[in-house]
């Protein structure tokens, strides 16, 4: 999760440095849907996040009733504001339990109650600044923010719903300090890298410029998710058809540039039947790390690299992060949509 800097942050010219770095923890909501915490819940939205657990007796009923009131006052669909309740007891709180809890407090659309793997949720809570030692002592905090403007506030969960509501409205109305999304293109690195054919390319000028791109991170000796991920991209490649190499490119960047020389990458690419328009990139350590960290793919330990796929239209903007092992046709459709 380290250095998983949300791409949108870069694109909005690093609007708010003190914005909490919200990780893309894989969570499950009350309907059992898998979501990426940042990309699917927070990104581009105004959010109010509280912290609960379903077997909690005294405080959570009150926190949740307050959220319910805020939801009501925000009106239909919570006015586009996302309400999020994160379980601080993810081991016990299955999606099913969250669903019943949600029903108890009449949580409506736009309100996600999420749980997940204990270690990962703990990391998420840490990143949000509400690490919990003992769930019975968990702080009744509500974290309110606007991902676009970078406005973030914390209020007590026991504050009256009116206070929470006002803060949410402030957050929703806040403006980014520097709204120059287009100018942010210059934040794309243009370092020199090598393709699997040994060709020297400039990352932005030669590969990204004017294209719709799908970018993932991998390394060839990886025993975990890389093979399924690459195999899945091979399926995505099929769905992209002749668009691949024309206006859409797939870019797989190694997080292990020392071992993954162009010839190693070539063999790997061939194994998965990569066609022209799918680039496997390596290069000098410094150049590769530079690109990775700009894209949020830099990791200290290569085994921790992310299995997220960044899909975006470089010319027009519009970026999505999705799981690289998700349904291949759906992934291809995201790219085709953005390329339109």
């Amino acid at each position: 999760m380290k250095a998983w800097m949300p791409l949108l942050l870069l694109l909005t010219a690093l609007a708010a440095a003190e914005q909490p770095r919200i990780p893309d923890t894989i969570v499950q909501d009350q309907d059992g849907h898998q979501l990426l915490f940042y990309s699917d819940l927070v990104k581009g939205h105004t959010v109010a996040i509280n912290f609960i657990f379903t077997s909690c007796t005294t405080i959570c009923p009150v926190l949740t009733a307050n959220f319910r009131k805020v939801q009501k006052d925000l009106g239909e669909n919570a006015g586009g504001v996302r309400l999020i309740s994160i379980s601080v007891d993810p081991t016990t709180d299955t999606p099913d339990r969250l669903k019943r809890f949600a029903a108890q407090y009449q949580a409506g659309p736009g309100w996600s109650l999420v749980t997940g793997n204990k270690t990962e949720i703990d990391t998420l809570l840490g990143a949000l600044g509400v690490a919990v030692q003992n769930k019975l002592d968990h702080t009744p905090t509500v974290l309110i923010g606007n991902d676009v403007s970078g406005y973030w506030q914390r209020v007590s969960g026991l504050a009256s719903p009116a206070v929470i509501l006002r803060t949410v409205q402030d957050a929703a109305a806040s403006q980014p300090e520097s709204p120059s999304a287009a100018a942010a293109v210059k934040y794309f690195p243009n370092a020199e890298l090598l393709t699997q054919d040994g060709a020297k390319v400039h990352f932005y000028d030669d590969l990204l410029k004017g294209k719709t791109v799908l970018i993932n991170f991998m390394f060839t000796s990886c025993a975990g998710v890389c093979s399924p991920m690459t195999a899945n991209l091979a399926r995505v490649q099929k769905h992209l058809g002749e668009r691949l190499g024309r206006d859409i490119v797939i870019i797989s960047i190694t997080v292990d540039p020392v071992a993954d020389t162009p010839s190693v990458l070539k063999a790997y690419a061939d194994k998965f039947g990569a066609k022209p328009g799918w680039y496997f990139l390596t290069g000098s350590n410094a150049n590769v790390d530079g690109v990775l960290s700009k894209l949020g793919g830099y990791v200290e330990d290569k085994n921790q690299h992310s299995s997220v796929l960044i899909v975006g239209n470089v010319a027009r903007g519009g970026w999505r992060k999705i799981l690289a092992i998700g349904d291949a046709e759906a992934i291809a459709n995201v790219a085709l949509d953005l390329a339109r």
Partner: protein, 507 residues
């Protein structure tokens, strides 16, 4: 005079009104539905009172609680009827009267009209219900405010067992074992001085009879908990009944379901599901044959339980890297197909008659795959297997057979009661269920209540009954063990021999 009155009050059981009041206090409900609404804050959204039961904040016996800095006070009558200081706001208040108490509950103000902390909801409910709630508050936590089935000297538990019909001997052996176990515990001091009484209702051994017997036990709140009820395979209706009545049922003599979702919160199964037994079998075969990769086949009959076997095989075969070369329902050509695919092991998921028939077909074909069956569903077919098939066959069992286990407590009980060594499987099930109940009661403290019994059971970890695998439950876990032991048949004596230790399936 007044003293006498108070003493008389304390010595009486709860009146009907007070019992209704207790349901409102504990669950926010009357006759199973929310009594009204609860609202947090002056302009909050009214939510069902069942989402804000008094007991969750003020404690089952009105002892108060403390969580994340909010401290709902004790609601013991004596405290309410005296001046006191709020532990939350440190505000002093005078004594409540019944009128100001009603106002506190409905308007959130103390006797002097000052607002209570917003953590105390405002309730709206019919006057009658509020009167019942107040009637109960007057008794809350006193010595006679005990859960149904509990008195100062006893705890009554129930079981629905076949005491008539063809299964009568089975029911009798379960009852006998439970009675011996509870008598033994009562002789040794009981549970905080309370003896355990068993109430048995006759189920006649049928699904409808079980439902009726369970209904009789549940109705009128005669028992505190249920134990060892005897279910016919796959029947869940009685389980639903106890869930609605919120009465824990420990160790039904039944096949445990495979809980993909949140299980019925009130039924605690002891023995592994067929799903987990099948997974353990695959691990056994994989380990036995390593480094070879034997080919598996499965023939299954139509029930949901048989499907559990197939699911377990699939999931564990994928994990262990074994191939299932044939997966078929129990059709006439099934064995021929299995032979054509050259399977090394044929797992049969179905009843005893099916097992015996598949065994005969394998016998005619000669040197075919090793047949694997499940004691839980097909024990009756084991004796009918042709010798050539029986000699190589393997069987998964949900617990070790009695003679090989650390079952000294069980056997000494049997001996002390001069019980015959018949129906050992049922007797061990009953023994295990009764032992779990006793253990959970001991850890629930001197004021047994059903909620804390469920909580204690959920915290039970690696509990040794001596006659089952160690049992563990959890907030989302209602089947106490997972795994199997593998048996073979001794060709000479036709007795089972144990060929594995307890196998907990690898995750």
């Amino acid at each position: 005079m007044r003293m006498l009155l108070v003493a008389a009050l304390l010595l009486s059981a709860l009146t009907l009104d007070q019992q209704h009041g207790r349901e409102i206090y504990r669950r926010g409900k009357f006759a199973g539905s929310a009594v009204g609404t609860a609202t947090i804050g002056a302009e909050g959204v009214p939510l069902p009172s069942s989402s804000f039961a008094c007991a969750t904040c003020h404690g089952i016996w009105g002892e108060g609680s403390r969580e994340s800095g909010i401290e709902p006070p004790s609601l013991v009558w004596k405290r309410l009827m005296s001046p006191a200081v709020s532990p939350v706001t440190s505000r002093r208040r005078t004594a409540y009267t019944p009128e100001t108490l009603r106002r506190a509950i409905t308007a959130g103000v103390d006797p002097s009209g000052a607002h209570l902390h917003p953590g105390m909801p405002r309730y709206s409910m019919p006057d009658e219900r509020l009167t019942e709630l107040l009637a109960y508050l007057e008794r809350l936590g006193d010595d006679d405010d005990t859960d149904p089935g509990v008195t100062a000297t006893s705890i009554r538990v129930g079981a629905a067992l076949p005491l008539s019909g063809p299964l009568e001997p089975a029911g009798r052996s379960i009852r006998e074992t439970l009675e011996q176990l509870f008598a033994d515990a009562s002789r040794n001091g009981g549970i905080y001085g309370r003896r355990i009484e068993l109430v048995v209702e006759d189920s006649g051994g049928t699904a409808a009879g079980l439902l009726e017997a369970t209904r009789r036990l549940v109705a009128g709140d005669r028992v505190f908990a249920l134990v060892s009820s005897f279910e016919t395979a796959g029947d869940m209706d009685a389980g639903r009944l106890v869930e609605t009545a919120e009465i824990p049922l420990i160790g039904p003599v039944a096949l445990s379901p495979h809980d993909k979702n949140l299980p019925n919160a009130y039924v605690f199964y002891l023995l592994p599901s067929l799903y987990d037994q099948a997974r353990a079998v695959v691990d056994f075969i994989a380990a036995k044959e390593a480094p070879r990769h034997p080919r598996l086949a499965v023939i299954y009959a139509g029930t949901a339980l048989d499907q559990d076997v197939v699911d377990g095989l699939r999931s564990q075969a994928a994990r262990d890297g074994l191939e299932i070369v044939s997966e078929q329902s129990d059709v006439p050509s099934a064995v021929t197909t299995v032979l054509a695919r050259q399977a090394n092991y044929l797992v049969f998921a179905g009843d005893g008659a099916g097992l015996a028939r598949v065994g005969r077909e394998l016998d005619q074909a000669g040197n075919g795959p090793v047949l694997v069956g499940f004691i839980s569903t097909a024990q009756s077919g084991v004796g009918q297997l042709p010798p050539s098939v029986a000699a190589r066959a393997l069987f998964a069992a949900p617990a070790l057979p009695p003679d090989t286990r650390q079952a000294s407590a069980f056997f000494s009980l049997l001996q002390a009661g001069h019980s015959p060594r018949t129906y050992l499987g049922l007797r061990t099930s009953a023994f295990a269920a009764g032992s779990v109940l006793l253990q959970a009661l001991r850890s629930s403290g001197s004021r047994p209540n059903r909620d804390s019994l469920v909580g204690t059971l959920e915290r039970l970890q690696h509990f040794e009954t001596g006659v089952t695998a160690p049992l563990t439950f959890g907030p989302n876990r209602r089947v106490g063990s997972a795994g199997a032991v593998v048996l073979a048949l001794d060709p000479a004596s036709h007795d089972f021999v144990v060929v594995s230790g307890w196998i907990a399936p690898k995750n």
